[in-house]
């Protein structure tokens, strides 16, 4: 399939948004403006947007600890995402999820999972809904090379296979799980694991190439939507930053040569070159886009800055749909949490 000029521009915009958003978030962690940590997708943008751009509105996706930017790939505005990372009231989850547990239902993001592997069956369940209710939607689960060793992936692939669900399992193989090189803990090839579960498995060696990723995911999405069942796609890619921002490991588990090689194949630079060489874009137009995206990120930070922190009582909302539960918390307990020293009579 070919993408229009506007679509190609939108692809580059989304990849840039992820890059710039994460670069800013990285700084904010280091300055203490974002509490906790964030896991960036810098270096993996082609893989993210290659996948999300193959989905339609209404399609579902789930992610892991490194997926706070994936809603951007699906078209989400930046402000509520940034406000979520800072724990503000205007955050897309009211500040209750943060970078690790962010969901954006408006764009079909059913949520990240801080628990590695744990959101794979969630997306599978969304695919099941589509099937049972006869809806034309598909679901995609993002997970890492590390997550590929969690058993629940295979339970999910088997269920999706036997029920012929409209499902894509997308492994973001950035070759490391924290400090652990994938090849030291992974027996066999991840994409090859699909065959034993009766579903197609595809390995994309050059995950820095948007087109390669997008083509593969688009075919899988089309198959799924046509009722032809699930696909496992393994995308080989690389994260530029440390596992998480602020983390400092004493052991350097990735060598300089390897890093340099991957940096030389930057997905955004490559895509820009392709746009100019093959798709009639001008450097000026793309420079303007860069600037535009930087402005968008500034605005997102401003949006976050302008938002207050949530009221303390928000900590007691949203556990259940009904509120009677909160009333069953004991008197002492509620008093204690309001830091009152005396119990109400």
């Amino acid at each position: 399939m070919t993408l229009s000029h506007d679509e190609l521009l939108e692809v580059q915009r989304r990849m840039l948004r992820i890059r710039k958003f994460d670069e800013r978030a990285s700084k904010m962690v280091k300055r203490g403006h974002i509490p906790g940590t964030v896991h960036t997708s810098i270096g993996q943008e082609a893989q993210v947007v290659g996948a999300t751009f193959a989905l339609q509105d209404g399609d579902y996706m789930s992610g892991n600890h490194r997926s706070h930017g994936h809603p951007i790939g699906k078209g989400a505005p930046l402000g509520p995402l940034m406000a979520e990372l800072t724990g503000k009231a205007a955050g897309v989850c009211k500040g209750k999820g943060g970078s690790l547990h962010l969901a954006d239902f408006a764009v079909g993001s059913l949520g990240e999972s801080g628990i590695v592997g744990s959101s794979i069956p969630i997306a599978t369940g969304a695919a099941l809904s589509s099937k049972v209710l006869g809806r034309p939607t598909v679901a995609l689960a993002f997970f890492g090379d590390g997550a590929a060793n969690q058993g629940v992936l295979y339970e999910s692939m088997n269920m999706a296979g036997v029920w012929n669900l409209p499902m894509i399992f997308l492994c973001e193989n950035n070759q490391y799980a924290l400090s652990t090189p994938a090849h030291t803990v992974t027996s066999g090839v991840i994409a090859d694991r699909a065959a034993g579960f009766g579903i197609p498995g595809v390995r994309i060696e050059n995950g820095q190439d948007f087109f390669a990723v997008h083509d593969a995911v688009k075919s899988a999405v089309d198959r799924a939507r046509a009722g032809e069942g699930p696909t496992l796609i393994e995308v080989v890619t690389y994260r530029y930053n440390e596992h998480s921002e602020g983390l400092r490991l004493s052991v350097d588990y990735r060598n300089a040569e390897e890093k340099a090689e991957w940096l030389s194949r930057d997905p955004i630079v490559q895509f820009r070159e392709a746009l100019i060489a093959d798709h009639g874009f001008t450097a000026e137009e793309l420079d303007a886009l860069d600037a535009d995206v930087l402005r968008e990120v500034d605005e997102a930070v401003a949006f976050s800055d302008a938002s207050p922190f949530p009221e303390k009582s928000v900590a007691f909302d949203d556990l259940f749909t009904d509120t009677t539960y909160v009333e069953t918390l004991s008197r002492q307990e509620r008093a204690a949490f309001e830091q009152k020293e005396e119990v109400p009579a």
Partner: protein, 338 residues
């Protein structure tokens, strides 16, 4: 009204819920063949034919692989996207397989996502204790789920409650774990054939009394009632028996009111002792109506031991009418000595 067994009442509630709402599906191992007796025809006991499958089709009656973690996660994802699944996990001991999904996804998603998700899903499982099925098939793990905020927890002790609470659970937009008790499967009573909903969070006073309160859970309810009868007849002790029915949210007011009246509390439950529901109820009472208490609170529970297979060993592990009666006597007696 008609006489229904506990198991038949569950089947009836499932049928009503399937009829009432197309989004309700049943998902679990061997549900198609009605192996556990709640997806069959008659609704009164183990059914003679597996007719849920015939009636609702394989799209809504989903026979699954043995993949509890995957099933529970898929049901959660489905609940977040428009279905209202009833997951049949058969034995309660299998819940551990799906613990991550239950605790990290089912219980937390709505909260973490600031209310974007809702999670209308029911997980049914049966506590199979007392039948010489050994340590892997005799667990009563509801207390550990009580320590997980975000799960509603139900333990019906009668056919009517089995039916009415299941309907409320299916209609709840929050996740509900129902712990059934196979020891009660055969128990029978008149149950309305009309639709009815027993609210979650409201205890049932099974029998009124003035001398001592017995809070009994699940299969301990009939045992507590039997103990109460013996004590009334033989010793003139008036026992109030309360069945909380839902453990989360817990009807604290009903328990506190009763203890404020009687001044004495015995709690009976089939779970292990340490950190059980009885511990929670005891602690809650000791906090809230301490001044009303005339005697130590007694817990009658399974001991902190695993369940042995041999029939020579297993019977002694659970609360029964003899132990409950002894605890009541002790509690009343201590007060008399005071």
């Amino acid at each position: 009204m008609s006489v229904m067994s506990y198991l038949g009442a569950i089947g009836a509630a499932q049928r009503e819920a399937m009829d009432a709402d197309e989004r309700v599906i049943i998902i679990g191992e061997d549900v198609e063949a009605n192996v556990y007796g709640t997806t069959g025809g008659s609704g009164k006991s183990r059914a003679s034919e597996g007719d849920f499958t015939q009636k609702y089709g394989r799209n809504r009656i989903r026979n699954t692989p043995i993949s509890e973690e995957g099933i529970v996660g898929a049901a959660a994802g489905a609940a977040m996207t428009g279905l209202r699944p009833i997951v049949d996990l058969s034995y309660s001991s299998f819940l551990y397989m799906a613990m991550d999904q239950l605790v990290n996804q089912v219980a937390k998603n709505r909260y973490m996502f600031g209310g974007q998700a809702s999670m209308p899903v029911v997980f049914r499982s049966a506590m199979f204790y007392g039948l010489n099925t050994g340590a892997h098939h005799s667990d009563r793990p509801y207390p550990m789920f009580m320590n997980v905020p975000g799960l509603k927890i139900v333990a019906p002790a009668s056919p009517s409650d089995a039916k009415g609470l299941l309907r409320s659970a299916v209609d709840s937009d929050d996740p509900v774990l129902i712990f059934e008790a196979c020891l009660l499967w055969g128990s029978k009573e008149d149950v309305s054939e009309e639709e009815f909903w027993t609210p979650l969070g409201v205890a049932r006073t099974v029998q009124e009394g003035t001398d001592v309160t017995v809070v009994a859970i699940s299969s301990s309810v009939p045992e507590a009632l039997a103990a109460a009868r013996t004590l009334a007849e033989e010793e003139g002790v008036s026992v109030e028996v309360i069945d909380p029915r839902t453990l989360v949210p817990l009807d604290k007011e009903a328990i506190l009111k009763s203890v404020a009246k009687t001044g004495r509390l015995v709690i009976a439950e089939p779970a292990h002792r340490t950190c059980g529901a009885a511990a929670e109820i005891s602690a809650m009472v000791a906090e809230e109506v301490f001044d009303s208490l005339k005697a130590p609170i007694a817990r009658i529970t399974a001991p902190d031991m695993q369940i042995p297979f041999s029939p020579a060993l297993e019977k002694q592990m659970y609360p029964d009418r003899v132990k409950i009666a002894a605890a009541i006597r002790r509690t009343v007696g201590v007060a008399q000595r005071a």
